[in-house]
């Protein structure tokens, strides 16, 4: 096959469209995990939550044809699973890493089990339709990619601002961050540590569920096992990459989104000097790299919520 001649602007536009699609999925999950971790709870169940959310929204969308109800179903699926994590790690004070991994296994397992007949039946849904934002969508490259997407993508942009506002500009957000830094002090000032952490964990879980809805309603017409393909783990790395700040998460998610599109882009222009497997592996390599670099103690000491992963026990 000879290289197809395409003009660079078209390539760039296509690349950006794919980047926004992939990046938005990562973004919503990252935002959810940031919210949870800011309260001091580490939820490594993200992968399971996305997967279970995706399946729930797929079923509900197939049955009702209403994407809003389907998205709410995904949110509740994520919320329910994360409540288990909340109960185990906040009330029972168990090891959060273990509990989070269990949630991943549970979410993936449940989805695989419930989803098997669906996968076999080859049920298909129509992806959500894009909504064009007037004016903004006229901007070259940025317009078609960022402002001609389905409503859930717009939801992800809005959530960046909303979560940032809640965390930094409201009393609840201040309480939540304080609980993540120093729960015993927050407690002594009359802040309900347990309630705050429950709220943060379940809202975070709901967002991870919605990330699953975005994944399947937006871009995959049918359900198959392993649909999340490790995105949950990338989101966990992105939380660290973005220093637990929703605004940075925006850039981090789209950067990873871009890396994820390289494979498709290079294929489309017929560039084959580097094997495609390399590009497919790239996001995961990058994830590992981020985890290594950003988990250096110097970095973490400054940015990581000081009580992340530590159960809180009230002492008298």
């Amino acid at each position: 096959m000879e290289a197809i001649k395409v003009d660079p602007l078209t390539i760039l536009t296509t690349m950006f469209i794919l980047m926004v699609q992939e990046g938005s999925i990562l973004l919503v999950a990252t935002l959810g995990e940031i919210f949870t971790e800011r309260s001091g709870i580490l939820n490594l169940g993200v992968e399971g939550l996305i997967c279970f959310g995706a399946l729930s929204s797929f079923i509900v969308y197939y049955l009702t044809g209403n994407w809003i109800i389907a998205t709410l179903a995904a949110a509740s699926a994520g919320l329910m699973l994360s409540l288990i994590h909340a109960f185990v790690s906040i009330t029972l004070k168990a090891n959060q890493t273990v509990s989070g991994l269990a949630i991943t296994i549970l979410g993936l397992g449940l989805s695989s089990f419930i989803g098997r007949p669906i996968a076999l039946s080859r049920i298909r849904i129509d992806p959500l339709e894009s909504v064009r934002v007037p004016l903004l969508s006229e901007i070259p490259v940025i317009g078609p990619s960022f402002f001609n997407q389905n409503p859930l993508v717009y939801f992800s942009y809005i959530m960046v601002i909303v979560l940032w506002f809640i965390l930094y500009k409201t009393r609840f957000g201040l309480n939540l961050r304080s609980v993540g830094e120093n729960p015993s002090m927050a407690d002594s000032l009359g802040i309900n540590v347990f309630l705050t952490r429950y709220v943060a964990t379940s809202v975070g879980g709901a967002l991870c569920g919605i990330s699953g809805a975005l994944l399947i309603l937006g871009y995959y017409p049918s359900w198959y096992d392993g649909i999340t393909a490790g995105r949950g783990w990338i989101a966990v790395a992105l939380v660290i990459f973005s220093s637990w700040n929703p605004l940075y998460a925006f850039f981090g998610a789209y950067f990873f989104g871009l890396v994820g599109t390289l494979n498709a882009t290079f294929q489309s222009i017929g560039f084959r000097a580097i094997p495609t497997d390399f590009f497919r592996t790239l996001p995961y390599l990058l994830t590992i790299l981020v985890l290594i670099i950003f988990s250096s103690t110097r970095f973490r000491r400054r940015k990581m919520p000081a009580s992340l992963g530590k159960p809180y026990t009230r002492e008298l």
């Binding site: 500009k169 201040l174 304080s178 000032l189 009359g190 400054r302 940015k303 000081a306």
Partner: protein, 508 residues
């Protein structure tokens, strides 16, 4: 002015094995500064923790404005207008000053207006002379500034009874003066202040009245103007105390430590020690003055093997130990008394006995081929506890339950206990060795240093207390900005000049 805003009557608090408060009485008048004086472990912090709702008393009555109250948590205390600044600050380093101050306050709506709160805090701060930038993150602040934030937290919540637990322990002389003037400002505006300390000079300088605790009992309450240093010391310790140290004539016994042009970088690659050279002889005490953060910590860690030097050489008794391990330094007679008692200094969950032998675990006396010899350890620990007057119910309690001063004594006992009777020639490196110690224990440490000096050891200690430096050292170094900017014979030293050097304005 003569109304009691607070009365604590017959307060009893028992910890396993210790009666921390034994029928203690304490009263506070509106607008007064009331010092609570006592040795390490006298029960000062415990009494105030009860008032602040952190501990429950076993019996007793607390009255606020003449009415009996029950205080179950700090929140209850704050509602009654009682607030406390702890010995170690309780701030969130990652948050800004405003965020720390307004946390838990009900003044704000759901949506915060940090700008407005910041202005409010600025005004509040300036009306009490507490300089601090409300929008700075707390981790960037000095200890003195952090303390102001703690005080602002209380003022913002309209606290009228303010408890300060050893507030001057972390302050430079300059910051201490500022704190005192703020305290006077507060008391003139009707706030009552409880000032916990074991420094007699501070009691005399700042307080209106003073209550003395000794071993959990209150021995006296005095009007400050009608008492003096000697009487207070006597009440606090139960025996007279020396304030002037008589030094024996110096007998130098040869070079033990030689430091040549040592440079040290911090984790970020900034130069913290910019070429330091000096030598130390057996039989002398060198006091290093300087404002914390001018390279003292790096110097102490470099000459004990805890920090790598990027260039320069360190010789101990002629042997090149540059960048050798801390254990090598220790084995060559370099002993270190660190600044941080919990953490670097001790293992909080291990018992006193275990902490005391931490560095001598391989001593034949304590360890057989496989197991530790617990009888020997127990006996050894009990002897040290007695020698150093460590107040505890048994040598088997975890050190995290010890009072601040007793914890310091454990560190001292471990480092110095082994060599007290040795032949000399050791190097003792001590960071702020008497910080947090009461006069009795301070006297003990100073006398110990003098004794070890006379036995031919070299002592280099870092202190913020100029009086302490001048009272026992033979030579004084002044550190500023990673260098030794002054070296003075202590007989010729004057406080003014050293103070100026500490601020970097003159070189000798």
């Amino acid at each position: 002015m003569d109304e009691n805003v607070l009365e604590m009557v017959d307060i009893v608090k028992v910890f396993p094995g210790v009666i921390a408060n034994d029928r203690v009485n304490f009263s506070l008048k509106a607008g007064e500064i009331h010092a609570l004086l006592g040795e390490n472990g006298a029960g000062k912090t415990t009494l105030m923790n009860i008032l602040y709702g952190i501990y429950r008393m076993d019996s007793g009555v607390i009255k606020v404005d003449g009415r009996k109250v029950t205080i179950r948590s700090p929140r209850d205390a704050i509602k009654l207008g009682i607030g406390m600044v702890h010995q170690n600050f309780k701030l969130i380093p990652a948050h800004t000053v405003v965020e720390n101050v307004i946390l838990g306050s009900e003044k704000n709506g759901f949506i915060l207006d940090l700008k407005k709160s910041g202005e409010e805090i600025k005004n509040l701060a300036s009306s009490f002379g507490l300089k601090v930038d409300p929008f700075s993150e707390v981790w960037k602040l000095s200890m003195g500034e952090r303390q102001r934030v703690e005080i602002l937290k209380l003022l913002y919540k309209n606290v009228r009874i303010m408890i300060l637990d050893e507030p001057t322990a972390v302050l430079t002389p300059q910051e201490k003066r500022e704190l005192f003037s703020s305290l006077r400002e507060m008391s003139s505006k009707g706030k009552s202040i409880i000032f916990i300390t074991h420094k007699l000079d501070e009691v005399l300088e700042i307080s209106d009245r003073v209550t003395v605790l000794r071993r959990g009992k209150n021995v006296a309450t005095k009007v400050t103007k009608e008492t003096n240093k000697i009487e207070l010391a006597n009440l606090m310790i139960g025996r007279p105390i020396i304030f002037e140290y008589s030094k024996n004539p110096q007998k130098l016994s040869g070079l033990v430590l030689k430091v040549e042009n040592v440079r040290v970088l911090d984790e970020e690659g900034n130069v913290r020690l910019k070429g330091v050279s000096f030598s130390l002889n057996g039989g002398e005490i060198v006091g290093v003055a300087g404002i914390a953060g001018n390279g003292q910590k790096e110097l102490a860690e470099a000459i004990t093997g805890l920090k790598r030097v990027s260039s320069g050489k360190i010789f101990v008794r002629g042997k090149d130990l540059t960048n050798a391990s801390p254990k090598k330094f220790f084995d060559n007679g370099v002993l270190f008394i660190p600044e941080e008692r919990l953490g670097v200094g001790t293992a909080p969950n291990l018992s006193i006995a275990e902490n005391l032998i931490l560095k001598s675990y391989d001593n034949k006396l304590f360890s057989g081929p496989v197991f530790l010899n617990f009888d020997a350890i127990q006996k050894f620990a009990e002897k040290l506890v007695k020698d150093f007057e460590i107040l505890c119910s048994s040598v088997n309690v975890p050190v995290k339950f010890l009072s601040g001063g007793n914890l310091q004594k454990v560190v001292l006992a471990r480092e110095l206990g082994n060599i007290i009777n040795n032949a000399g020639g050791n190097v003792i490196v001590a960071m702020y060795p008497t910080r947090g110690l009461d006069v009795g224990a301070t006297e003990y440490v100073r006398k110990l240093f003098l004794k070890m000096r006379d036995e031919g050891n070299a002592i280099i200690f870092f202190s913020e207390d100029l009086e302490e430096i001048l009272s026992i050292s033979d030579r004084v170094f002044v550190m500023f900005d990673g260098r030794i900017v002054g070296e003075i014979d202590s007989s010729e030293a004057d406080v003014e000049k050293i103070g100026l050097m500490m601020a970097g304005s003159v070189a000798s």
